[in-house]
């Protein structure tokens, strides 16, 4: 602060005050969209948010149009999307969790070594990969060779997205555990395998589980990769090799079909509730089982 003339104290005070107010205003403005989005989704979505949404499949465009003309509520729900999301995300969880845990444990055990740093860097690279590119990958690996769109292809895409997040949270949690845990276990003659499964993983449960929940909530709303892989279906499908719908895919369908537009907000409302619920549980778990 090399000023020749001293700046008056009042002007410095005034600048300080202005900056403080600006930080408040801009921070507040950054929060505004959330409330607008929530208001939009809740106020437009609650009307069709009923039992039917959960028990019936998506109506055909023609049925929806007929109901519209007659002034009836839209005849159907999104059961096919709910079951599809469960199937696709569930399978992605099965594919990504064991692998993610193992990689995370390996990385925290070999911190600073060359191979581990390479793997760590590649994990970051995977995490930064646009979801649409991951969709292309799953298309090239699963859809093309197996000759058709399938829930499995969607799960592979989502699993690739979840993997780096689970690796990171496992690694970070393991790094936070006191080294004494591991050393005490080993010095008592316990095998490394036992130390990992009986001491490290249980003690790090909170952090790891939080990471998994956040990863699930992140892929729950993914649409782009599923468009290239799971495609969508208008019936409930539990077969992994068949095209399958998902909640976000249905939002996309409704967006493109003016007759089904009445379902768009209630579906979005359900999706937001699921995602926020997962985030909320993750927060509670993180607080309760703090490492």
């Amino acid at each position: 602060m090399n000023q020749d003339k001293p700046i008056s104290f009042t002007s410095r005070k005034a600048k300080d005050k202005t900056a403080y107010i600006l930080v408040w205003i801009f921070s507040f403005l950054a929060m505004v969209p959330l409330f607008f989005i929530l208001w939009d989704v809740v106020s437009k979505g609650y009307k069709n948010f009923n039992l039917r949404l959960f028990t019936e499949v998506t109506p055909s465009s023609v049925d929806a149009l007929m109901a519209r003309v007659n002034g009836d509520p839209i005849p159907g729900g999104i059961l096919n999307g709910i079951t599809g999301s469960l199937l696709i995300v569930g399978l992605a969880i099965l594919l990504s969790i064991p692998l993610g845990l193992f990689i995370g444990i390996y990385l925290s055990d070999h911190k600073g070594k060359k191979f581990a740093s390479t793997i760590s860097y590649l994990t970051d690279l995977l995490q930064g990969m646009p979801s649409i590119v991951i969709g292309i990958i799953a298309y090239a690996w699963v859809v093309k060779p197996l000759g058709g769109y399938s829930a499995l292809a969607g799960s592979v895409a989502l699993a690739i997205m979840m993997l780096p997040m689970i690796v990171r949270s496992t690694e970070e949690t393991m790094n936070m555990l006191p080294v004494a845990y591991k050393e005490a276990g080993l010095s008592l003659g316990s095998s490394y395998t036992n130390v990992v499964f009986k001491i490290l993983l249980p003690s790090g449960f909170g952090g790891i589980f939080t990471g998994i929940l956040l990863a699930i909530s992140r892929v729950m709303g993914e649409t782009a990769p599923l468009m290239l892989t799971a495609l969508g279906a208008s019936v409930v499908n539990w077969k992994v090799m068949e095209p399958t719908s998902a909640i976000p895919l249905l939002i996309w369908d409704f967006y493109n079909d003016p007759n089904l537009v009445d379902l768009i907000w209630s579906t979005s409302l359900l999706l937001l509730i699921v995602i926020f619920l997962l985030n909320w549980i993750a927060k509670i778990v993180a607080r309760k089982w703090k490492v």
């Binding site: 602060m1 410095r12 005070k13 600048k15 300080d16 403080y20 930080v23 801009f26 921070s27 950054a30 929060m31 969209p33 959330l34 607008f36 989005i37 939009d40 989704v41 692998l99 193992f102 990689i103 444990i105 990385l107 055990d109 191979f115 390479t118 860097y121 590649l122 970051d124 690279l125 995977l126 930064g128 990969m129 646009p130 979801s131 590119v133 969709g135 292309i136 990958i137 298309y139 090239a140 690996w141 690739i160 690796v167 095998s191 490394y192 395998t193 909530s217 709303g221 993914e222 649409t223 782009a224 468009m227 290239l228 939002i251 996309w252 967006y255 768009i264 937001l272 995602i275 985030n279």
Partner: protein, 285 residues
Amino acid sequence: MKDKIFRFFLFVAALFVLVLSAAIVYALVSRSSEAFQEYGIWGFVSNAEWDPRSATEEYGALSFILGTLYTAFFALLLCVPFSLAVAMFNGVYFKGKKIAGVMRSVVDLLAGIPSIVYGLWGFYTVRPLVIDLGVNAQGFGVFLSSIVLAIMIIPYASSLSSEFLSMVPNNLKEGAYSLGATRLEVVQHISLPTAASGIVASFILALGRALGETMAVTMLIGNTNRIPTGLRDTGNTMASVIANQFGEADGLKLSALIAIGLLLFVITAIINLIAKLVMKKLSHA
């Protein structure tokens, strides 16, 4: 013995990341080779023509590359004041206070909203406002997508920045305060310069997010296959053209779309690498 097997399993799992990455690059390269062989890499990248009609079939990526850069950089520009404000709110002005926790939760919620819901909100709520502003008749275009994109990347830019700001050592700040500096002067001369490379890295990472963002942009940019002439114009980004045209594509067109995916992958990888280098510089300083 059991331990050896288990350790071997862990190693194989780690090795899997390497295999996965290699397989990803291989899949993208091999599936896009048809387009690159047809036009050459430079020919494909520098051609703005995208014409899927079978008689005059021709594919180039330039319109989408420029469309992506326009929207992402404009979104980054828009998000800077808000992200910085939130970062300073959480990391400096109200560091450790309850209200910073509230702000953080709000930002987390913003980050949790799926892209497609942002797209819906942009279509039904922001688009009419953009039309009222007189930007263009339909509202769709670079301007609308950038506004929504900016809101979407605020959480990424601000949460990492605020972490770096809050890591600025207290004794530095207290030193300045004891010399009679105001809070703004401490922020200006101590906090921001000390955390500078971390903040820059967070904004680079946010840019990476904006470059690859798909659904919201696809719903808002207007999807025209030409170079946007300005913020008011419609266009297409690399991600949005893939999302829009992948379904009905085959042959050369499919290969060209995957080639765009490969380019997008390379661009985001470079962006992430730069962010990483900037952060590394920070840890050495």
